[in-house]
């Protein structure tokens, strides 16, 4: 899933300062699973804002609403009926959702309530961890199912570097060394000989470096 973090109340307040009537828009997908921008977080943020405004003796009207997905126009269209009643949309979706809402409602400021961080997994209740950087050319078959691009701080295709110590990365003792994980898994698979192969220079054109990406499935188009 896409993992996001809600922005601080302070940053949110500075963004919404010019507005008196705002639509706080949650998303039922990834940001709900990672507890950053679902219906529950919409409620929490609305309460925090209302409390702050009432303490400050200021007024604000907040409409709380959560849609199924902010990355699909059929759901974004559902707010068409009342979006005009508000001066700004406070989107709690990931960066993709925020932008898609902005594309649809062109005269409304759409403000980000979260920082979108990574593609990851739930390690345990309340803990998420990065797994993929969406580089567009998957080599997990060669690296024991563990991605060196996402999980090595230097994205080394032929790691580990000289900073791997006791299974940890030189950047932070809390971060696992991606290449230690790869070597361990290759051993478990009985494929440690694969380590000896040099992985060639990567073609980054399928990644962000090739410019904004688009995928077209002609067979699915209407």
């Amino acid at each position: 899933m896409i993992v996001a973090n809600r922005k601080s109340l302070e940053e949110i307040l500075s963004m919404i300062n010019p507005f008196k009537k705002v639509l706080l828009l949650g998303c039922n997908e990834c940001v709900t699973v990672c507890a950053a921008g679902g219906e529950r977080e919409v409620g929490v943020l609305a309460s925090e804002l209302k409390l702050w405004y009432s303490k400050a003796g200021k007024e604000i009207e907040i409409k709380e609403h959560t849609i199924e997905r902010q990355c699909d126009h059929e759901y974004i269209d559902q707010i068409k009926g009342f979006v005009e009643d508000y001066e700004a949309i406070l989107s709690m979706a990931c960066g993709a959702g925020i932008q898609y809402v902005a594309e649809k409602y062109r005269t409304k400021p759409v403000l980000p309530m979260v920082n979108t961080t990574f593609l990851g997994v739930t390690l345990e209740q309340g803990v998420w961890s990065e797994r993929c950087q969406g580089c567009g050319t998957c080599i997990l078959d060669q690296t024991g199912g563990i991605c060196p691009i996402a999980r090595c701080a230097k994205s080394l295709l032929n790691g580990p570097c000289g900073g791997s110590s006791n299974g940890k990365c030189e950047v932070d003792k809390e971060i696992d060394c991606g290449w230690q994980l790869i070597v361990d898994r290759l051993k478990e698979l009985g494929q440690l000989d694969r380590y000896e192969e040099i992985i060639p220079v990567k073609d980054w054109t399928t990644s962000r470096d090739g410019g904004p990406r688009k995928r077209i499935r002609e067979d699915l188009r209407l």
Partner: protein, 309 residues
Amino acid sequence: MKTKSNIEKILESGGFVVTSECGPPRGADPEVIRKKGNLLKGVVDAVNVTDNQTSVVRMSSLSACVILKEMGFDPILQMVCRDRNRIAIQSDILGAAALGINNILCLSGDHQKFGDHPKAKNVFDIDSIQLIQTVRGMREEGRFLGGEEVKGKPILFIGAAENPFADPFEIRAARLGKKAKAGVEFLQTQCIYNMERFERWMGMVRDRGLHEKVAILAGVTPFKSVGMARYMKNSVPGMDVPDEMIERMKGVPKEKQPEEGIKICVETIQRLKEIPGVRGIHIMAIEWEEKVAEIAKAASLLPRPTSNS
């Protein structure tokens, strides 16, 4: 001889190599380099010039290499993959060769987190092993990574680093094997304090026959004080300083500690010289270049066979 490298020449004639390093200054004053260079004259066969080491901005490695070259040294251009993509890397390789540099050391580079610009974006378009392949391809096949022809091949002697003290230990010799396969010709190791582990690594290297393909130069760094020993142990990534080293440094009064540090360093070199497959010593006296001559002399590494300075 594939190149004009002084260390390649010494290695080819079966000699034992001595290298040291020179860290460029955090400013534009060339005198800093010349002063450091003067301390190394006649003491070493080649000088490494670090490339923004520990991710701290310094005078560029290539510029400092040229200053040392003018003084008669045979500099080793260190190049990290952290700050340049394949376009800039290949361009700098051509520039270095054009300016008469004969050696390159291919490195991944410390993470920028450790430096003075931790908020920087890193590059890591290619890694150190791919960098070795890149230089090799430009020199041997006369081809850029993109496949185009190099008009005027860069004739550089190709080096790399390896840390026998980093983990996972079991693949550390295999990793050198990958570097050998990529085309590396000489190797400088991380500072050696844990001799037992280094000897085990060398055993694995010899088992694979890698010592015959790659000239291994063993790295040493003298401690200036017990404080430095502790810092190296606890704060420098990938460093393995055994407790007995700390105890030994702690065991002498503060004013005698620099002397003790040098004594440890000389003893280490003497042991390293006896290890089969060790073809030279790389003395990294960090901001203590004035001691390299003393260490080399005490370890019977002087005079140098074909000092070109």
